[in-house]
């Protein structure tokens, strides 16, 4: 691994790797407010997730933090460097894994790593050693001489992670790291990120998979329409729902009226929300919930077509914050 010596230590910001203050991006093209006065702090060594649906502003936020999107207003500091004032300096400090395969197609797998190392100031010998070591570490050695278009999607993503880490960035950005990967490749990537985390690598990732956010992230910001709606650990976010059981009800008839009816009649109901074609009922501290729901609905003259029960998930949190589901 490529390590660097350093001079005097500044303790003021040593633990804060990313800070955004009222960070805003309005695209003049279409006058879209993609990110709206975002406040955020990411600390050294944590995996921080931006969770939200497509169009929530996650990718734009990462774009601003990685110097590719220029903020309209507000401030962002990465590794102690202002991204607007000194973008070239910030680029020394970050590693970026884009959502799409942006490997250099004119180069082989090994060369993608080697030249990346050279861009970041390694000499030929250092870059060769770093590329070799990285291939071993990411189990790509057998494909070292392959064309990057000839390797699988999972391998391409691993190579992109390997490349982003080659120069030892202070923070690794991953935009929708497992989108489009098959389940096996997704799990393999999660394992890699877990190991990086265990080694103390600071990571910021965006995702619209709640399982990914839940299992990987130390802390999460839930985003929608360019704003952060809630920010906490996955556990605390789920506890914030103030329910231990979530009942999803499908029925015929006036669902809004049924939602009100269930909240009134079911013992322990803390919240009842109508979604497109279902009702979500939050219940706390009760056993035998399902018979109670069925009874209440039938007494009200409704016929239930489907019923399911689950613990609160991040999806539940998202629904209670926005009134819509995270999944498309």
């Amino acid at each position: 691994m490529f390590t660097h010596t350093h001079g005097n230590e500044s303790h003021a910001t040593v633990d804060e790797v990313i800070r955004c203050e009222k960070l805003t991006k309005r695209f003049t093209d279409g006058n879209i407010l993609a990110v709206d006065r975002l406040d955020l702090a990411v600390y050294r060594g944590e995996i921080f997730g931006l969770l939200g649906p497509n169009g929530a502003g996650k990718t734009t936020t990462v774009g601003m933090l990685t110097t590719l999107v220029i903020p309209t207003s507000g401030k962002a500091v990465v590794a102690g460097v202002d991204v607007v004032a000194q973008p070239a300096l910030v680029k020394q400090m970050i590693g970026v894994v884009a959502q799409t395969n942006n490997l250099d197609r004119s180069l082989t797998v090994w060369e993608n790593l080697y030249y990346h190392g050279r861009f970041f100031g390694m000499n030929g010998r250092e870059a060769r050693a770093a590329a070799d070591e990285s291939l071993v570490r990411f189990r790509l050695t057998e494909r070292a001489k392959a064309d990057v278009m000839a390797i699988s999607g999972g391998m391409a993503k691993r190579l992109m992670v390997a490349r982003a880490l080659l120069h030892g960035p202070s923070v690794l950005f991953l935009d929708e790291p497992t989108a489009g990967l098959d389940p096996q490749a997704r799990i393999a990537l999660w394992e890699i990120l877990d190991k990086l985390h265990a080694n103390g690598q600071t990571i910021l990732l965006t995702t619209h998979y709640m399982e990914e956010a839940d299992s990987l992230c130390d802390r999460l910001a839930i985003m929608d329409h360019g704003r952060i709606l809630a920010m906490d650990t996955p556990k605390s976010l789920k506890e914030s729902v103030a329910a231990d059981t979530i009942v999803t009800v499908s029925a015929t008839g006036d669902l809004d009226a049924l939602a009100r009816l269930l909240q009134d009649r079911v013992e322990g109901a803390t919240k009842s929300q109508r979604l497109d074609s279902t009702i979500q009922l939050h219940v706390k501290g009760t056993t035998g919930v399902l018979p109670k729901v069925v009874t209440a609905a039938e007494q009200g003259g409704y016929s239930i077509t489907d019923l399911s029960i689950a613990e609160p998930t991040l999806d539940t949190v998202f629904i209670s914050l926005t009134g819509k589901e995270l999944r498309d």
Binding site: M1, V69, A88, Q92, S106
Partner: protein, 290 residues
């Protein structure tokens, strides 16, 4: 994991001064482009020589052989005079094509479909220098193209046709780099503005008119004969074509034929360089930053 110790976790501080990081990254970007050139050397040589070879072959070998004389129809003497005109035109044209093929075509793809330029844009140097590095790598290919094409243009002709060249070295060694940078900058302008699906249109509406109205086959002065109401309209019109200054420049550098004055050629070429670099870097910014 190979690096498990916490001490290997990088510190939250920049490692190199911006100037040092920029110098190193710029050199590495050039190294990357030259590696890609080396890997595709056969293709590079092929695409460099095919057009000049065909031009010279048809005009200086086939035409005299079949008696379809050109160059004023005065037999071998006329054809020899035309050969001198054409050789300088072909060298200029090859550099022009190289600029477009080495910069515009790869960039259009890297922006349009694959976004593979992103890793280079994220290298630790100002974005403008990534664009300028692209121009420099393209210009180096222009230099190589000139070196490959010149002997071909000089050597291929029918028996009896004399290619009478008189090389003015100071002109040649200043014009080749200048035109290489100018045409690579034009490549940057085109590459940052043209969508991959419109590349065919670029050849039809930009490259072909530049080629045919760029003085490859005729000296600029002779266009004065084409007039409407006493006004040499074509001679005036082609002045917007950057290639005309390139081919006229090489005519000055390689032949004794009449050519556009040098005090016009050099400032205009420098002017096109500045204009295209400015437009190209601006276009590059627009494509990679939002």
């Amino acid at each position: 994991m190979a690096t498990a110790s916490p001490s290997s976790v990088p510190l939250t501080r920049p490692i190199r001064s911006p100037g040092a990081a920029t110098r190193i990254a710029f050199g590495a970007l050039l190294l990357r482009d030259l590696t890609v050139l080396r890997k595709n050397l056969g293709m590079f040589v092929g695409r460099t020589i095919i057009q000049p070879f065909l031009l010279v072959f048809v005009f200086l070998f086939v035409f005299p052989k079949i008696g379809q004389g050109i160059g004023g129809g005065s037999g071998l003497a006329g054809e020899s005079a035309f050969a001198a005109v054409l050789v300088s035109g072909v060298v200029g044209l090859s550099i022009m094509f190289q600029g477009i093929q080495a910069v515009a075509l790869p960039l259009a793809n890297e922006f349009g479909y694959t976004k593979e330029i992103e890793d280079r844009v994220l290298a630790p140097l100002p974005v403008a220098l990534v664009a300028i590095g692209k121009v420099l790598a393209g210009a180096i290919q222009g230099l190589i193209a000139a070196a490959i094409v010149f002997p071909i243009a000089y050597a291929i002709h029918a028996k009896g046709v004399e290619v009478q060249l008189s090389v003015h070295w100071p002109l040649l060694i200043t014009l080749i780099p200048l035109t290489s940078i100018m045409t690579s900058s034009l490549g940057l302008v085109l590459g940052t503005r043209i969508q991959p699906r419109n590349i065919g249109m670029m050849f039809g509406f930009i490259v072909l008119p530049i080629t045919f109205l760029g003085g490859t086959y005729y000296p600029w002065e002779t266009l004065a004969a084409i007039k409407v109401g006493g006004f040499p309209w074509l001679q005036a019109l082609v002045c917007i074509n950057p290639l005309i200054y390139v081919t006229e420049g090489f005519r000055a550098a390689l032949t004794t034929t009449a050519h556009m004055p040098l005090y016009v050629i050099y400032p205009v070429l420098v002017g096109f360089c500045v204009l295209f670099l400015w437009l190209g870097v601006r276009g590059f910014y627009r494509r990679v930053l939002s």
